[in-house]
Amino acid sequence: MNAVTIPASSFRVPQEARDALNQREAVTVVAHKRSQYVLLHPDDYAVVSPILERHRAGRPIPVDRLMTEDDFAIIREESLDAPDAGILEAWGS
């Protein structure tokens, strides 16, 4: 995947963001409440760059690889939120 490299001297990263990146946390840069950029630690980028490369080429990615434990939990909760909906009784039951 092509990447643009720039010197650190031309890019100012606030200390708060540096600290977060050193903790291997992603940093989301927002403008007008919308995400503009996401900064990653290089080791984290190495993990996700193959997925990014496939995505950029338009290749499918197994959907479960796009989901976090939170996503799985929320989808499980969704399926449980109407346990009393559906066929409750049928003739002869």
Binding site: T28, V30, K33, R34, S35, V38, H55, R56, A57, G58, R59, P60, I61, P62, V63, L66, M67, T68, D70, D71, A73, I74, I75, E78, D81, A82, D84, A85, G86, I87, L88, E89, A90, W91
Partner: protein, 195 residues
């Protein structure tokens, strides 16, 4: 009782009977609910995006809830009985407390499969919600009771991006036509021009 077909445009946010089970005798459900006057009343007053229609017959007892859905394809033709939808669920206080990073992804519009809605008037929802595009379901059009809002064309572009991921659609051939430098791994045609 059901929404007019003209309302079932792609991008419409509608209230539908859940579960989305085509085998349920919907004509019976809607007729009985209509005669009771109960279903309409609860639709008008719903505040938690939830209401109940309980229909009892000697043969069958069915209980439905009302759920908002996003219509994903044009359902305006009377030639097709079903239309594809994705469910819309509310973002709860429990989500904010226990799944803060998930909520942040929605709010920053960087969730790969889900999209936040309900924060704009044209969505027609009473509470902040999300569309779960990891799942797409057919719904019989008679089970869609009415349209409450819609997504804009820009919002539907975000929906389309998530559906491509969710359904694992291979668009590499289209990408290669549009951006041949990516599939070739080389430079763009513009970059390749002699200076």
């Amino acid at each position: 009782m059901s929404a007019p077909l003209a309302d079932l445009r792609r991008g419409a946010i509608c209230i539908a009977l859940y579960p989305f089970t085509p085998e349920i005798p919907l004509d019976l459900v809607l007729r009985q609910a209509g005669s009771d006057g109960d279903l309409n009343a609860k639709i008008e007053s719903y505040d938690s995006i939830e209401a109940i229609a309980r229909i009892t017959r000697n043969e069958l007892v069915v209980q439905f809830k009302l759920r908002p859905v996003l219509v994903l394809q044009s359902g305006t033709s009377d030639q097709l009985a079903d239309v594809l939808v994705s469910r819309i669920n509310s973002i709860t206080e429990a989500h904010r407390q226990r799944r803060a990073s998930w909520v942040a992804k929605l709010e920053h519009d960087i969730h790969p499969l889900m999209l936040r809605v309900g924060h704009e008037d044209h969505h027609g929802l009473n509470v902040e919600s999300y569309i779960n595009l990891s799942s797409v379901q057919p719904v019989n059009k008679t089970a869609i009771l009415r349209r409450v809002g819609y997504l804009t064309e820009d919002e539907m572009v975000a929906v389309s991006e998530r559906l491509i991921r969710s359904l694992e659609i291979d668009v590499s051939a289209y990408v290669a036509q549009l951006r041949p430098e990516i599939s070739a791994g080389g430079t763009t045609s513009e970059q390749a021009q002699p200076s």
